[in-house]
C-alpha cells in the first residue's frame, strides 16, 4: 500500500469530476466571455453625457439632414434628421460613415509643402503664414507678368456661397477659369435652358409621380439625394411603377417593376421611339403641346424658310421597327412602354446614367425631356421643374484693375463658352488635352483645387497626370491625402464638414427649394482652415483691388451676411424653405424667345443650320476603339455601397462590398456567361482587361444580368492615395476610359469603351 503517482492523478480526476457538479465551470465560462468584452486594452471611447447636434451632410450634393450623437466632445454616430424635408430621416451608407472622414487616418493634419518629387510622398510641415504667402507669392508673380488668366481653380461645385466667393476672388484677380467637375446636371441644365429658357437645376418630382421611366438612371444607387430616393422606395406601394431601361441588371433595375435591357448607348433612340408611338397613337397631352409648346409641328420662320418640327422628325425617323433595330428592344416592347407611360396619370421620364457622375449626351437628355413635355408634366406636381438658383448670394459689384480686366478678356482654358461650345459652362474633361496638346508653356501656370480630385475622377488618368506635370504650381485644399493632394506642391487643408459652416443649396434632382446649413458639430481636430477663410486671407495678402473685393472678416461673417434672412432658422433647424417653381405662375415659366416650351430649341447653337441638329435627335455617341481587336464593350456601374466620385470610400462601406465585386485587392468585372463561354473563361478567372487607354488585371464574375458582349466594372476603386484602407484596392475605371465629346455641347458623353480580355 503506497501513495503513488496514480493516487494524485485520481485526486485530480476527483476534483475535475466534482467540479462539474458545482457552478464553477459554468459560471466561469460565462464570466470569462464577458471579461473578454471588457478587456482594458480594447479601445473604448470615453463615456459621459450624450447630446445631439443637427447639421447637413455635404459628402455629396444630396444635402441630407443629419443628427450627430455626441458623448462629451466626441461625435459617435450620424443618423438621418427625421424632420428634414428632402431626406425625411433617411441616410445613405456614405452619410452613416461620415465619422470615418472626421477621425480617419487619411486627413491632412497641417499645411504641407512638398520636398521630394511630385507624388513621392515627402512633405514638410509649414506654418499657415508660410503656406498662404507661398500661394499668394506665386499668384502675384503671375499677375505682375500680366498672366492672371493662366490661373485656374477647380472647385467641387458652382452653387452656394463658397463657389461664389472663389469666383469673386478669380474675377478680382483676373482669371476667367473657375471650373467645376462634370456632373449629369450639366446636361439637365443645358436641356432645361435650351427647351425652357430657364437657368437652374432640374427637379424630378418622383414623390408624386405614378410611373417612373428611367433611362439608365441609378435611382436607388445614389442618384440625386440618395436618402430621399431610399425614402421613396421605402414608402412605395402599388401606386407607383418604376421601369428601368439599362444594359445591366443594376440594383435599381432589380428593385424596379420592370427591367428593359438595351444595347448600351442607344437610350436616346428608345426615347424617340416611345415619342413616335405616343404621337402616332395620339397619346400625348394635346392641351399642353398645342398651347404651351413650340416646334412640335413644322413651322415657317420670319424669312419664310420652312422648318421641320419634332413631330415629323420623330414620325419619319423613329418608327418602332427602326428603333428596335438600333436598341435591340423588341418592337412590341417599345409600343408597350409608350402606352404604359402615356396612359399613366402622372408619368415622369428621367435620364442620365448611374449616380450622375457624367453629363452624357445632350441629345439623349433632350429626347427624354421631350417625353416629359409630351406627357404634359412640365412644372406640374409629379413632373419636371426647373429650380432657379437661390438669390440669397448677392454682393456688391467687384471693381477690377486693368490687369484683371485684360485677364478676364481671355478665353477660358477649357473652351466653355467659346464659339465651338457656346452653351457649355464648364468643360473640365477637356483641360488635360488642352494642356497636353499645347507646345511650350502650359496655358495653366497655377492650378488650385478645392473639394475636387481631378487626378482620380477625370477620364484617362495618365493624360491627366501628364497635364498636371506640365503645370508648374499645384495647390490642393483637400482635407484628405487624396490623389490630387498627394500630387500637388502645397496642401492647405480644409476642415471637414463636421467642423465647419457651409450652406447647401437645393439638392440637384429635387423640386422643393430648400437651403441647408452644415454646421460645426465638433471642434476642429487638426490645424486646418476652412477654404472660405483662406480665400479671404489670400485676398488680403494680395492687396489692392483683390483685397477691396472682400469686406468680410472671415467666411462665417460672409455666410451670415448672405443668409441674413434665413440665418436664425438655419441655425435652429438646419434648413429653410425658399421660393420655388410652384411660387411662379405657370405663364411665366418659359423664358424662351417664343415664351413656350421649345421642342425646337431656337437658342441651340446651329452652326450648320440643319433642323435635325437642333431638334432632339439620336446621334450615336461614338465609342473609342476598334471592334476587330477589342470585341467587348466596357461600361461602368455605380453602387450605393461605393463612393465613386472625388471622395474615397470609407472602410465601413468597403466592408459591405460583396466578394463577387472585390476580393482581397482584386476587383471583378461582370461578364455574361454566354460571352465568357465563347471566349473560354470561367467564374473567378484572373484576366488582363485592356482598352485603348490602359489595362488592368481583374477577375471575372459571370452574371446573366449584363448584356452579352458587355463587361461592367464598378466605379470607386483603384485609389492610389488616401490610407492603407483604400490604396490599391481594385482598379480605377477612369484609368481605362477617355472622354468622348458630345459634338453639340462639348460635354463628356462617354458611356463606355471598347475592351478585350486575355488570360493574365
Amino acid at each position: 500500500m503506497k501513495i503513488d503517482r496514480r493516487s494524485f492523478i485520481s485526486l485530480g480526476v476527483g476534483v475535475i469530476v466534482g467540479s462539474t457538479l458545482t457552478p464553477v465551470p459554468w459560471k466561469l465560462t460565462d464570466d470569462i466571455s464577458i471579461w473578454t468584452q471588457n478587456w482594458p486594452w480594447t479601445p473604448v471611447p470615453k463615456d459621459g453625457p450624450d447630446s445631439y447636434k443637427t447639421s447637413v451632410c455635404t459628402l455629396c450634393p444630396g444635402g441630407c439632414g443629419i443628427r450627430v450623437r455626441k458623448i462629451v466632445d466626441r461625435a459617435v454616430k450620424i443618423d438621418g434628421l427625421p424632420e428634414h424635408p428632402v431626406s425625411q430621416g433617411k441616410l445613405c451608407p456614405l452619410g452613416h460613415s461620415g465619422l470615418q472622414f472626421l477621425y480617419g487616418p487619411s486627413r491632412v493634419k497641417a499645411p504641407m509643402k512638398r520636398v521630394g518629387k511630385r507624388g513621392e510622398g515627402k512633405w514638410q510641415k509649414i506654418t499657415w503664414e508660410e503656406a498662404i504667402s507661398a500661394v499668394t507669392g506665386k499668384l502675384k508673380e503671375l499677375r505682375d507678368e500680366q498672366k492672371p488668366h493662366t490661373v485656374a481653380w477647380v472647385a467641387g461645385d458652382d452653387r452656394g456661397t463658397l463657389p461664389q466667393l472663389i469666383y469673386r476672388f478669380l474675377t478680382a484677380y483676373g482669371s476667367p477659369n473657375f471650373i467645376r467637375p462634370p456632373t449629369v446636371q450639366d446636361a439637365y441644365e443645358l436641356a432645361a435652358y435650351l427647351m425652357q429658357g430657364q437657368q437652374g437645376t432640374v427637379g424630378f418630382d418622383i414623390e408624386n409621380a405614378d410611373h417612373v421611366l428611367s433611362f439608365g438612371t441609378g435611382l436607388f444607387q445614389g442618384w440625386s439625394s440618395p436618402a430621399r430616393m431610399l425614402s421613396i422606395y421605402g414608402k412605395m406601394h402599388d401606386n407607383k411603377k418604376f421601369v428601368q431601361i439599362e444594359p445591366r441588371l443594376s440594383d435599381t433595375a432589380a428593385k424596379a417593376h420592370q427591367w428593359v435591357p438595351i444595347t448600351p448607348g442607344t437610350e436616346g433612340a428608345l426615347a424617340l421611339g416611345i415619342a413616335h408611338v405616343m404621337i402616332r397613337e395620339s397619346l400625348y397631352n394635346e392641351a399642353f403641346v398645342s398651347k404651351w409648346a413650340f416646334g412640335f409641328e413644322d413651322w415657317t420662320d420670319d424669312s419664310g424658310k420652312r422648318h421641320m418640327g419634332f413631330k415629323n422628325l420623330v414620325l419619319k425617323d423613329y418608327a418602332p421597327e427602326i428603333v428596335a433595330e438600333i436598341t435591340s428592344v423588341p418592337k412590341p416592347m417599345i409600343e408597350k412602354l409608350a402606352r404604359q407611360f402615356a396612359r399613366a396619370k402622372k408619368p415622369i421620364a428621367v435620364s442620365g446614367r448611374g449616380q450622375g457622375h457624367l453629363p452624357g449626351s445632350l441629345d439623349e437628355c433632350m429626347a427624354v425631356h421631350a417625353l416629359n413635355a409630351l406627357a404634359g408634366n412640365i412644372n406640374q406636381p409629379g413632373g419636371v421643374s426647373v429650380v432657379a438658383e437661390p438669390d440669397y448670394a448677392k454682393w456688391p459689384e467687384v471693381n477690377i484693375d486693368k490687369t484683371a480686366s485684360k485677364g478676364l478678356q481671355n478665353a477660358r482654358v477649357d473652351g466653355a463658352g467659346s464659339d465651338q461650345y457656346p452653351n457649355a459652362r464648364f468643360l473640365l474633361h477637356r483641360l488635360p488635352e488642352v494642356i497636353n496638346s499645347t507646345k511650350g508653356d502650359s496655358p495653366v501656370q497655377a492650378l488650385l483645387v478645392s473639394d475636387a480630385n481631378p487626378l482620380y475622377t477625370l477620364p484617362d488618368t495618365q493624360a491627366t497626370k501628364a497635364a498636371l506635370d506640365k503645370i508648374p504650381f499645384l495647390v490642393s485644399f483637400s482635407s484628405f491625402m487624396d490623389e490630387t493632394a498627394s500630387y500637388s506642391d502645397y496642401i492647405l487643408p480644409d476642415h471637414v464638414f463636421l467642423e465647419s459652416y457651409s450652406d447647401v443649396p437645393t439638392p440637384p434632382g429635387t423640386v422643393q427649394p430648400v437651403i441647408g446649413l452644415s454646421k460645426p458639430v465638433v471642434r476642429p481636430q487638426y490645424d486646418t482652415r476652412p477654404v472660405g477663410n483662406l480665400v479671404i486671407q489670400m485676398a488680403k495678402a494680395m492687396g489692392s483691388f483683390v483685397e477691396k473685393a472682400f469686406a468680410w472678416k472671415d467666411y462665417q461673417a460672409y455666410l451670415k451676411d448672405a443668409l441674413k434672412d434665413h440665418w436664425d432658422q438655419l441655425e435652429k433647424k438646419g434648413f429653410a424653405f425658399i421660393k420655388g417653381p410652384q411660387d411662379i405662375p405657370f405663364t411665366d415659366q418659359f423664358n424662351t424667345t417664343t415664351g413656350k416650351f421649345e421642342f425646337y430649341p431656337s437658342a441651340r447653337n446651329n452652326a450648320n443650320g440643319k433642323d435635325k441638329d437642333i431638334l432632339p435627335n439620336f446621334t450615336k455617341v461614338a465609342i473609342e476603339g476598334e471592334s476587330g481587336q477589342l470585341p467587348l464593350i466596357l461600361v461602368p456601374y455605380d453602387s450605393i455601397r461605393l463612393a465613386g466620385g472625388e471622395i474615397g470610400n470609407p472602410p465601413f462601406m468597403t466592408k459591405t462590398i460583396d466578394e463577387t465585386v472585390l476580393l482581397d485587392q482584386t476587383v471583378f468585372v461582370e461578364i455574361n456567361p454566354k460571352t465568357a463561354r465563347k471566349m473560354g473563361f470561367f467564374e473567378g478567372d484572373r484576366v488582363r482587361l485592356s482598352t485603348p487607354r490602359g489595362q488592368a488585371e481583374v477577375k471575372l464574375h459571370l452574371y446573366e444580368g449584363v448584356e452579352p458582349g458587355v463587361v461592367a466594372m464598378p466605379r470607386g476603386f483603384g485609389h492610389t492615395a488616401y490610407s492603407k484602407y483604400l490604396t490599391d484596392k481594385g482598379v480605377n475605371f477612369n484609368k481605362l476610359i477617355g472622354p468622348i465629346e458630345d459634338p453639340m455641347s462639348g460635354l463628356n458623353a462617354a458611356w463606355g469603351i471598347r475592351a478585350n480580355i486575355t488570360k493574365a
Partner: protein
C-alpha cells in the same frame, strides 16, 4: 484497432504468471486511488459551492451611504422626483450632481454622510462615482420608457424595494467581469427568489418577456 485485438489473446496465454503480479499491486493501491478520488471529488464539490461564490466577488462600499427612506419622506413625487423621464423619453437613471445640489448646496443636517457628500462632491463639483447594481454591458440596449410607461411596470419589480432602504448595501463586484452580483443573482445556482428585485442576465429578460408577451423577443430589440 483490429490488429491490436488480434494480438491480445495471442500474448496473454504466453505469460500467465506475470499477469498476476500487477493485478495484486493494483488491488493494494486501488483503495488509495478511490480514497484520493473521493477526497478530490468532495473537496471540489464543497469548495465549488461554498468557497467559490465568495472568492468570485469582491465587496465595495458605495461612496456615500444613501438613505432612500429619508429622501422619500421629503420629496413629492416618489421615485420620479429624482429618477424621471426626460422630455425626449430617455430615463435619467442615477441623478447627476446637479440634481442633488439643488437641495444639498450646503450641509443641512447632522448626518456625517451628507457632510461628506457636500464637502467631497458638491463643493469641488465632482460627480459621485456611484456603483450601479443594475449596470449592463454596452451591447445591451434597454428602454425604461417601454417597461415603465409602455408596460406599466413598477420600479421595484426589477430593482427590489430599494425605495425604502435606509442604507446603501455593499456592492459585490464580480472580479472577472466587473459587474454587480445582482445581475447573476445572489444564489450561485440561480435558484429561488432573487434577493434584490430581479436577476438581470439575458435569459431573465427572455423568460419575463415570454411570460408577459408570449415571445422571448428578437435579438436586435436589445442588441441594437
Amino acid at each position: 484497432m483490429n490488429t491490436n485485438d488480434q494480438q491480445h489473446p495471442a500474448s496473454h496465454p504466453a505469460s500467465p504468471e506475470s499477469g498476476d503480479a500487477p493485478e495484486k499491486r493494483s488491488n493494494g493501491s486501488g483503495w488509495f486511488i478511490l480514497l484520493f478520488f473521493i477526497i478530490g471529488f468532495i473537496g471540489s464539490v464543497l469548495s465549488g459551492w461554498l468557497l467559490f461564490p465568495n472568492m468570485l466577488y469582491s465587496e465595495k462600499e458605495q461612496p456615500i451611504d444613501f438613505n432612500h427612506e429619508l429622501h422619500m419622506g421629503v420629496v413629492y413625487e416618489g421615485c420620479q422626483s429624482c429618477h424621471y423621464f426626460r422630455s425626449d423619453g430617455s430615463f435619467s437613471g442615477i441623478p447627476d450632481l446637479y440634481s442633488c445640489s439643488g437641495c444639498h448646496q450646503f450641509v443641512q443636517g447632522t448626518d456625517p454622510e451628507e457632510e461628506k457628500f457636500v464637502n467631497e462632491y458638491v463643493l469641488p463639483n465632482k460627480e459621485v462615482p456611484w456603483l450601479v447594481y443594475s449596470k449592463q454591458p454596452d451591447c445591451v440596449f434597454f428602454s425604461h420608457a417601454a417597461h415603465v410607461k409602455g408596460a406599466g411596470m413598477d420600479c421595484k419589480t426589477c430593482h427590489g424595494d430599494i425605495g425604502h432602504s435606509t442604507h446603501s448595501r455593499p456592492y459585490q463586484e464580480n472580479r472577472l467581469t466587473g459587474y454587480s452580483r445582482d445581475i447573476w443573482g445572489y444564489n450561485i445556482a440561480r435558484l429561488g427568489e432573487a434577493k434584490h428585485g430581479m436577476r438581470m442576465k439575458m435569459n431573465d429578460c427572455a423568460d419575463c418577456h415570454e411570460k408577459e408577451t408570449g415571445h422571448k423577443g428578437y435579438c436586435f430589440q436589445c442588441h441594437q
